[in-house]
Symmetry: C2
Subunit: 221 residues, 2 copies
DNA sequence: TCTGTATGCCGATCTTAATTTCCAAAAGGG
DNA sequence: CCCTTTTGGAAATTAAGATCGGCATACAGA
């Protein structure tokens, strides 16, 4: 059951239709399109199995392509993973910073950020599994990229906090990290119990929890 | 440079002293002690390299023991890891539930829980890296154990929240998960920037953030 | 239309690395 | 002194990442 669909190339040169039916090896593709397709296949397999659980064999198979093709586009499994991670982190960063600059009111800012976070987690490519549940965290490149993102995000939140509470940098940053963690963890939990709670209801709940916590935060208890 | 410390056995049978100097292969040990020693060595290597980065070779070497000895105590690398994970999760659960039952005042409860969390993260065996930064999360056994712990903890917090706010189960649980995430993430950040902020100061900051957020949480904004 | 060239693609290996096991030697108790 | 238990060197096994050489296809220019 390995070579079930190979007759197309062996049976003469008749090019017939340029597009093949699903389940076949793909026809020749321009480099860019092939690359995009490989990334999509890798995304699927990485999300389903994690980095270590994913085999290059399976990624190639998912893309209906042989392994050498994969290696013509990405020098290694690790590079392939990093390409996906970078792409997701870039778009997530855009979402976050966009939400932060969507208003000048800090209250609304927190609400917008939380909602953006939930939207990202809910996005149907399950990018969050690659980003927040990576099993390659020990790789220095992976952890440094994640740390860069977390810092960017937490610092932005910390600025809002510092502005609203006059708390010193260091402490505002700790709170920023805490709120970032709250968003991440609660959103992932919400996703698993989806159907029970609407996205906006859930993210608003967390937003109110966060905002009540930080607004006019007292320096002494 | 692989077998640098192997002269003891090759150079005649002279048993000399029953205990060896450090760096040598160990003497015979009662089964329990040997097991404990192996667990300690595994803990060290797993923490330093993650599950996938850790080699049974290195664990055996760290314990000054050969690989077959390791396999006489643990049937596989995975079982060895699970034994450690179980042990850490059990003690963490104890810490949490202990903190929750240390008082009947919800305000103080939250403070005690946060402090306990920070203490666990700060514990010098770095157990938190095995628990919260595992690169074996895709293993069903690992993730189910983690989920069990998270549920236990978040449910306990959710009970406090429900009591204080009259919020429905579902929403209280979401907030519970969020606060658990806040504790985890902020504590790990705090650990990395240690020296800048005292444990009690940091955990109190987070506790106040959490308590302000949840106490008398309004059902409508 | 014919031919040369560059590009895309694949089957079949190669290689490495890490877990797991085999078997003979040593240690210690009765 | 023998017999059971424990130990380690070395090797078997497996699995997965990475590669080699050749074949087919599209297309440009004559």
């Amino acid at each position: 059951m390995v070579h079930e669909a190979r007759a197309d190339r062996a049976s003469g040169g008749e090019p017939a239709a340029p597009q093949r039916t699903a389940g076949q090896r793909s026809a020749r593709l321009p480099r860019d399109e092939r690359r995009a397709q490989l990334l999509a296949a890798a995304q699927e397999v990485f999300v389903a199995n994690g980095y270590h659980g994913a085999a290059m064999d399976e990624i190639a198979e998912t893309a209906h392509v042989s392994k050498p093709v994969l290696y013509q586009h990405f020098p290694s499994k690790r590079e392939l993973y990093l390409a996906l991670l970078d792409s997701h982190l870039a778009s997530l960063t855009d979402l976050m910073l966009g939400a932060l600059s969507s208003t000048t009111d800090n209250d609304e800012r927190v609400q917008a950020v939380m909602r953006a976070y939930y939207r990202f987690i809910a996005s149907d490519d399950q990018a969050h599994r690659l980003v927040f549940e990576s099993d390659l965290i020990n790789d220095p490149d992976v952890s440094s990229r994640l740390e860069t993102f977390n810092k960017t995000f937490a610092d932005a939140v910390a600025r809002v906090i510092a502005e609203d509470t006059k708390l010193p940098q260091l402490e505002a940053q700790l709170l920023g990290r805490g709120l970032a963690g709250m968003a991440q963890v609660s959103a992932r939990y919400w996703l698993e119990t989806d159907g029970n709670l609407d996205l906006d209801v859930a993210s608003d709940l967390i937003y109110r929890l966060a905002w009540r916590g930080i607004s006019r935060f007292p320096k002494e208890s």
